[in-house]
């Protein structure tokens, strides 16, 4: 009699080895190592701490308030205004026969030059209070005739520079809240440039001539300028009677006005229908250059950089530590499909870092803004949706950078090299674009092609074509749209992760 022996079978059911189990294993490995928790916990701490520092750091209490336009944003509303009150509806006409500008080259050194957005023309404004509603038609240094209103609206009229040979007639008509601007080359044939609905002009508005001359941007800095315009053939029609004109500077001490260059000042001379007006300043939205005392959201989130270092270290160590301790062999024995391990690590790391970053940024941004405003610092206003985008974008930035560090760590299998590599590629572009001598084109290239492009998710400032300024990443104007900038870093991270997965498969662990 022969007995057949059955081979031993464990009574325990075989464990499942799905992706969920790998994910769970990686999550366990993450949360049970104290240094990883400390590193991740440092993220919200850094964000909040630096926001508190930035918010409490500056004190501008007692400084003059920043003028705010009808659209709610900060404005520059400083110009030389020759005006008189005019009630009801009417029309005003003038010809501009000269617009000459001088640019400050050094202290007390004024040289004649072209200020592209020097403005001379007619304006109707509620009053001389800064930020009050207005509409204006003007000849400019090199952008032809423009009709502007509400500080942000700009309509192009006939092109060309004004001169004694080819003067430009300008006309503003008011009918209730509707202001229409016309231009003409001869004073008889008029072309309509634009129509503006200006609410809140009131029954009696200030109407007259204005000259503005904004700072000239170039070489990473700005130079003050002053412009003089010759007006002729000034007349009013249809309900508006002629009278005496008074002149004065609007918004002389405004924080969004750099003031006149040394040895220059605003003035007006002439009488009857002929005036010469000298002025500086601008009627336009304020940008970073024209409002140097203002802060913006990005400054309050400076802790992002410190947090970035922490998440890069955590991300790189998440894999290199396994190589150092030989834990990787156990990991790969338990889950022989190596690519899955790497993806599981990336998902756990991204999710944990995102949550930590979002918690920090959502807390830090309003806190910093509140503190800064309490200290009298003007913060460029942002909508709630923009603020949320910046906070979530910052969290995604940190999470994706940590995944990049994980991937580079898997490629190098050495933590020091991986940390240095990722820090240099993400943070150094930001250091380089802050170098004052770097030309704007290069700064933009760096902020487009390197992983440093990701800081575009923190941008809140909007460039205006009608304001000449240094729209460089250093000042908070990025060449890429917020999520496009993020996509650049994401591409680098995905490419590195794919390369790491391939190498992990090919190499012996």
């Amino acid at each position: 009699m022969t007995s057949t022996s059955t081979p031993y079978r464990s009574a325990r059911r075989a464990g499942r080895d799905g992706f969920a189990q790998v994910l769970h294993a990686e999550w366990t490995k993450f949360r049970t190592v104290r240094s990883r928790l400390i590193g991740t916990g440092a993220v919200p701490l850094m964000l909040v701490l630096f926001a508190l520092l930035a918010g409490a750091g500056g004190n501008q209490q007692g400084s003059p308030p920043v003028p705010v336009g009808p659209h709610g944003g900060p404005v520059t509303d400083s110009f030389y205004f020759v005006h008189r009150p005019l009630g009801g509806n009417g029309s005003i006409i003038v010809s501009v026969s000269a617009l000459r500008s001088s640019i400050a080259q050094g202290p007390g050194d004024l040289r004649s030059g072209t200020v592209p957005w020097a403005k001379a023309g007619l304006v109707i404004k509620k009053g001389t209070r800064q930020g009050s509603p207005y509409a204006a038609i003007m000849a400019t240094g090199s952008h032809g005739v423009r009709m502007q209103d509400g500080y942000v609206n700009d309509t192009a009229g006939p092109p060309g520079r004004v001169s004694a040979e080819s003067p430009r007639w300008l006309r503003l008509d008011r009918s209730g809240d509707t202001v229409t601007g016309y231009a003409s080359a001869d004073g008889t044939k008029w072309t309509r440039v634009g129509t503006a609905q200006v609410s809140g002009l009131g029954p009696t508005a200030q109407v007259g001539l204005f000259v503005a001359s904004p700072s000239v941007a170039g070489g990473g800095g700005t130079a003050g300028s002053v412009s003089t315009a010759t007006f002729e053939d000034l007349r009013t029609r249809a309900g508006w009677a002629d009278g005496d004109w008074t002149g004065g500077q609007v918004g002389a001490g405004s924080p969004s006005f750099a003031g006149y260059p040394r040895n220059a000042s605003g003035s007006f001379a002439g009488s009857g229908d002929r005036f010469t007006v000298t002025g500086a300043g601008d009627i336009a939205p304020a940008v970073r250059d024209s409002l140097p005392t203002g802060g913006h959201l990005r400054d309050l989130l400076a802790g992002t950089f410190a947090a970035l270092i922490a998440v890069i270290v955590v991300g790189a160590l998440f894999i290199t530590e396994e190589y150092r301790s030989k834990m990787i062999r156990l990991t790969l024995s338990a889950s022989p499909r190596r690519g899955r391990v790497l993806v599981a690590k990336a998902i756990v790391l991204w999710a944990v870092t995102f949550v930590a970053g979002a918690a920090g940024a959502i807390l830090a941004a309003p806190l910093g803004e509140r503190l800064a405003r309490d200290n009298g610092v003007y913060i460029f206003p942002v909508s709630y949706s923009t603020e949320l985008r910046v906070a979530l974008g910052t969290a995604a930035l940190l999470a994706t950078a940590s995944v990049l560090a994980l991937s580079v760590g898997a490629l190098f299998r050495r933590s020091a090299g991986a940390v240095a590599m990722v820090t240099v590629t993400v943070v150094l572009p930001y250091v380089l674009i802050a170098l004052p001598f770097l030309p704007a084109g290069v700064a933009k290239g760096v902020a487009t092609a390197t992983p440093g492009a990701v800081f575009a998710v923190q941008q809140t400032l909007v460039p205006y074509h009608q304001v000449a300024s240094n729209y460089t990443p250093y000042y908070g104007y990025y060449p890429l749209a917020p999520w496009a900038g993020f996509a650049v870093l994401a591409c680098y991270a995905v490419a590195a992760l794919a390369a790491a997965a391939v190498l992990l498969d090919r190499r012996d662990a």
Binding site: G57, F305, L428
Partner: protein
Amino acid sequence: MRPALHAEWTKLRTVAGPLWLLLATVAATVAVSAVATSVVNCTASGCGSDTTKLSLTGVHLGQAPVAVLAVLIISGEYGSGMLRTTLTAVPRRVTVLAAKAVILTGVVAVGGAVAVLGSVLAGRLVLPEPGDRALSLADGPTLRAALGTVLYLILIGLLSLGFGTAVRDAATSMGVVLGLLYVFPIVSGTVSDPELQRLLGKFAPMSAGLAIQATTHLGSLPISPWAGLGVTAGWAAAALLTGGLLLRIRDA
């Protein structure tokens, strides 16, 4: 001390990493410097900026491999357990650290000198007309800037060695060193108070140390060139002192 020096030199020269890191320093410094000099707008009257400083811009990147090298010299030994052998062979721990510092100084001096000379040479080739005094090492300020940049790289190496000894873990010490170098100036740039900003500029190891590269507008610098390098030296000395002390009192 001599056997310790010899041992450290052997350890450094018999692995491939240090040589590659030194080459990376040279390549990164020269490449970034050459790009920076080629993009600047030069007119007949000059380049509108400090050409010496410009042609040495690459150090911003070139210091990173130096920091990696310095950190690896010590934390690599911690990671592999080699340090126990080292300390058994040379039980006087401060001697070990001193020997590492001396060897590191030597190799970074060589690598840094090559990187700086290469950058200056690239600047001379790239800039349309360097002018009579710009970028000539016979010129006092330019020589000071070039020599100072090599010294700066050495100090960054020593600072990283100190942090590596104190922190022990390679990734964490890299994070601390690079945070100190790159994040400190960024954060100080966002401080709205100009007084505080100037003060931070004086004490950040990178911004202060790189003042040594300035050859024009010396009056407008937050800190004078040699004093700035002195600040970086202070950081390096403090880091080495802390590292040495911790190495002495802790178990390896």
